[in-house]
């Protein structure tokens, strides 16, 4: 009995010791000077590798590309610190010659690497030349394809001579999530093989340097440089956090628990239900929007992507029929519990796009007519965004915005009205027949669609796919989801799918130029069936009309207002042809805890950047964050 009592006492003491040690998450760093951020890459298996120029060899969004890297320009997916365009290492915008075969860059002076060496034109020239003569570096290919020669007439000027005209060459050096990062010449020129060099400890060009990291890849801590003023962020004032820790917080439920315990300041993404839990239980947690839908709409567009080389989907009437069978309200509920920002057109409804595309094209969409083979219908329903808001209002109350503008911004505008009758007519016009309850293809086989989804890597899109398959199934189509998991990129590239939920539309968000994704939709890049397709035209859509639009954009300047008109032409063509069924923005439930820090970017407060912390652009947050206490 004595032994038992001793044991109980020992256990109790151990528990006390444990509770004492459980108080602080991080050892030896003051919590109120530390920002703790989720790194969505999770555990980095090769933690000690910081050479970001070797492809996929180590982690990226461990803070490495957000805090330690820098390049010429940043294009903000939201509104920016002082405008969407940020001249970072460059002193001004890119200067092209008349036929876009030469680009001149003016560089800032007074910028230093973290080891005290000054950044000059030589670093940029070195980066370019090393990539041109080395195969297999991350950006070797774009340099080798584009650049004929590079030179630095003085220490602040670099001139690129291009192999062929390219009006978007600068976009390689413009951060939209990431871009080509500049190498420290004085480090890499001493390295024998840049592909086998780990760059540990990294010499930083950003405002932070590596403080410490976990050899097992669970966390990385960065520390503010003493000479932060000698970096490109310096002119925006002193960054708030002295330390920034990028951690792997585990599965979505655990991220929620961690933030409820105030041990995770920024959640990169969680489920809709996790977001609602935080909104309910933590007064200090908030999303991009104060109320519904909370999430930040990323400039990425989840859609039903058809394989247009598959006979069944070659006919646009079939694609339209499948679109008219989707009840987007149910999809929004199933995927995001209503917290989706829907879009009927192939442009993500976010950033400045809504002003450039969604609002001005509303009238055209209302008048848009579709021939079902028997009659002409107007398929667009402009009220769907509002209907979703009204559907949620009884349970969510004040969190649902009331003004039409706010609703449009939060939930999107209209979408296609579900119309099974029109879908039947379209399918019949395309030669499909109905046998009992089941639809048959023109060659008499059951109409089967296997809708490929990615699985728990993209839960929201998996949930959307599962709902869409159900709606098709209820109409008499043999539709099922297939969870591809890690095989998704292979199957997408190989064209090994009927239809999938993924995205082939990605934009800048803050800038109306569409070339970022659209250039790769040119038919010159469409692979023959069975061969590998390059990004991003996964639907393998080849259209002479589209090619004409793309070619016109290529010869139009980046900031030329004409490119918006061309973008609208693309939207109209994509609505008529329906090569993909656009669903909604990729809403990311980034949740920010204001217990230790304030000044996060928000939709109604100050939308100075995208809060999603794996974006290179998220470095802008550091200069606006202030300690809460």
């Amino acid at each position: 009995m004595h032994a038992l009592r001793h044991l109980a006492l020992a256990l109790f003491l151990a528990m006390c010791a444990v509770s004492a040690s459980a108080e602080e998450l991080i050892s030896d760093l003051p919590r109120n000077e530390t920002l703790i951020v989720e790194n969505p890459e999770g555990t980095i298996k090769n933690a000690g590798w910081f050479n970001i120029w070797a492809i996929n060899a180590g982690g990226q969004s461990t803070g490495l590309h957000q805090l330690a890297m820098d390049t010429l320009w940043y294009l903000d997916p939201q509104h920016g610190l002082d405008g969407v365009w940020m001249n970072s290492l460059a002193a001004e915008k890119p200067i092209y010659n008349a036929d876009f075969t030469e680009m001149t860059v003016k560089l800032r002076s007074g910028i230093y690497w973290s080891d005290g060496v000054e950044f000059t034109a030589d670093d940029l020239v070195f980066t370019t030349e090393l990539h041109m003569k080395t195969n297999g570096l991350r950006w070797s290919a774009p340099f080798q394809i584009n650049v004929a020669s590079v030179s630095a007439p003085d220490r602040n000027t670099v001139i690129f001579k291009l192999k062929k005209p390219n009006s978007r060459f600068h976009s390689l050096f413009t951060v939209r999530w990431g871009a080509i990062w500049i190498m420290p010449k004085h480090v890499f020129e001493k390295v024998a093989d840049p592909l086998k060099f780990d760059f540990n400890k990294p010499v930083s060009l950003g405002a932070y340097v590596l403080h410490s990291y976990d050899p097992n890849g669970k966390w990385f801590i960065w520390q503010l440089r003493d000479d932060w003023q000698r970096t490109t962020l310096g002119r925006y004032g002193k960054p708030g956090p002295k330390y920034v820790a990028y951690v792997d917080p585990g599965p979505p439920d655990k991220r929620v628990i961690a933030q409820l315990n105030h041990e995770l300041d920024i959640i990169h993404d969680t489920s809709a239900e996790g977001m609602f839990t935080l909104a309910k239980q933590s007064k200090t947690s908030r999303g991009w929007f104060k109320g519904f839908p909370y999430a930040h709409p990323d400039p990425t567009l989840p859609a039903v992507i058809f394989n247009l080389q598959n006979d069944t989907f070659k006919d646009r009437r079939v694609r339209w029929a499948l679109a008219l069978l989707i009840d987007i309200k149910a999809v929004s509920m199933a995927s995001y519990r209503g917290a989706a920002t829907i879009s009927a057109i192939a442009i993500p409804p976010t950033g400045t796009h809504t002003e450039s595309y969604h609002a001005p094209m509303e009238a055209w969409l209302r008048d848009f007519e579709l021939d079902t083979g028997k009659r002409t219908i107007k398929p667009y329903d402009p009220n769907i965004g509002r209907q979703i808001a009204e559907m949620l209002r009884p349970s969510m109350g004040e969190q649902i915005p009331t003004s039409a503008d706010d609703i449009a911004r939060a939930f999107g505008r209209g979408w296609w009205k579900p119309d099974p009758a029109a879908a039947s007519e379209l399918l019949q016009a395309a030669g499909f027949t109905r046998r009992g309850n089941d639809w048959m293809t023109p060659d008499g086989k059951p109409f089967a669609v296997r809708l490929v989804v990615e699985g728990d890597l993209r839960p929201v899109m998996t949930r959307a796919g599962s709902m869409i398959a159900q709606q098709w199934r209820q109409f008499g189509i043999d539709a099922k989801t297939e969870v591809a998991q890690g095989t998704l990129p292979d199957r997408r590239q190989a064209g090994d799918f009927d239809a999938m939920i993924s995205w082939s539309v990605e934009t800048y968000g803050g800038h109306p130029d569409l070339s970022y994704f659209l250039d790769s939709w040119h038919s010159q890049f469409v692979a023959p069936p069975g061969k590998m397709q390059t990004p991003r035209n996964w639907q393998r859509w080849a259209s002479p009309e589209l090619d004409k639009i793309i070619e016109q954009i290529r010869s139009t300047g980046f900031d030329d207002p004409k490119s918006v008109d061309l973008g609208r032409e693309f939207v109209k063509l994509a609505v008529r042809e329906m090569p993909i069924i656009p669903l909604m923005a990729y809403n990311v439930f980034t949740v920010m805890d204001q217990t230790y820090w304030t000044g996060y970017p928000t939709a109604e407060g100050d939308p100075y950047t995208d809060p999603v912390p794996n974006w290179g652009n998220s470095r802008a947050m550091m200069v606006r964050l202030k300690p809460a206490k």
């Binding site: 979505p252 439920d253 929620v256 239900e273 296997r450 998996t462 949930r463 599962s466 159900q470 099922k480």
Partner: protein, 288 residues
């Protein structure tokens, strides 16, 4: 056979309880045949409702009735576990007894095969299986795959018992008295082997159902067919535990527990019934 059953029901409380629990689960699973909703459809009832009179086990965040979902899930999971267990038992008993009894070159050959199956990396193989089968993946196929992988470990245990039995005195006596191998194995040795068979059966079911859940949690499964693993997968996708929708996970887990306790009670009582010595003791009790 019926007398055995009658005896068991009459004399063993454990057996009675076990039969009731297992029967309850089987009856519950049978209800799936009359479910008002197709198992894969979502948003057929209001989502996130806690258990109440109208929805006994509550509803999921996908708008499904947990009660009816669970009838499908328990049915599929139970059939899955049982098929893996039965199929792999056939192989492991045959190989284990044969190998242990014959010894020599037969033993070494069989054990080489056996050990190869033990060392095969299971997880990459099952994932490969999933990737290759794609939408043809179903629980019967998975059961077949797991049965052909899941016998080796237990065959080794059974062999160890058979090995020690074959060198015991009473075996020698049997041999000298002219019994044939098959008779010795089935009449004399099986009672010694059966306890281990029962317990490996339970462990095997536990293993296969556990692995099914693991594969589901990781997403390597047919997410349209409810099993206990798939229910947990979906609950997980909706962070149900943190969001407070505990009933989505609680009832599947509760029912699996009931099933296993039922099977456990059946196993231990049958075990003692078969054991010749404890049977003698019991007869003494009854008569005396």
């Amino acid at each position: 056979m019926f007398t055995v059953l009658r005896d068991l029901l009459r004399y063993r409380t454990e057996f009675r309880f076990g039969a009731i629990l297992t029967g309850f689960i089987a009856a519950f699973a049978a209800l799936s045949l009359v479910s008002p909703y197709p198992p894969q459809d979502q948003f057929v009832v209001p989502p996130d409702l806690p258990p109440s009179w109208s929805y006994w086990f509550g509803t999921t965040s996908r708008g499904q009735d947990v009660f009816w979902q669970l009838t499908f899930a328990i049915r599929n999971t139970m059939l899955f576990g049982l098929s893996v267990a039965v199929l792999s038992r056939l192989v492991s008993i045959a190989i284990g007894m044969w190998s242990g009894y014959k010894g020599g070159i037969v033993d070494r050959l069989l054990m080489s095969v056996n050990d190869t199956f033990i060392v095969i990396p299971l997880f990459p193989l099952l994932v490969l299986f999933y990737f290759v089968l794609r939408d043809r993946m179903s629980w019967p196929l998975l059961a077949l795959a797991m049965a052909s992988l899941g016998w080796a470990y237990d065959a080794r245990l059974i062999r160890a018992v058979a090995l020690s039995l074959s060198s015991r005195e009473f075996t020698q006596q049997c041999v000298f008295s002219g019994m044939r191998t098959r008779e010795i194995v089935f009449q004399e040795h099986l009672p010694y082997v059966l306890p281990i068979v029962f317990y490996t059966t339970m462990n095997n079911m536990n293993w296969s159902i556990g692995l099914e859940v693991t594969l589901s949690v990781l997403g390597f499964t047919d997410i349209d067919t409810p099993t206990v693993g798939v229910m947990i997968y979906w609950a997980n996708q909706h962070t149900a535990l943190v969001a407070g929708v505990w009933w989505w996970v609680f009832f599947p887990v509760l029912f699996v527990m009931i099933l296993f306790i039922g099977l456990f009670l059946l196993a231990i009582s049958t075990n003692e019934y078969i054991d010749p010595r404890s049977r003698l003791a019991r007869m003494g009790d009854v008569s005396g």
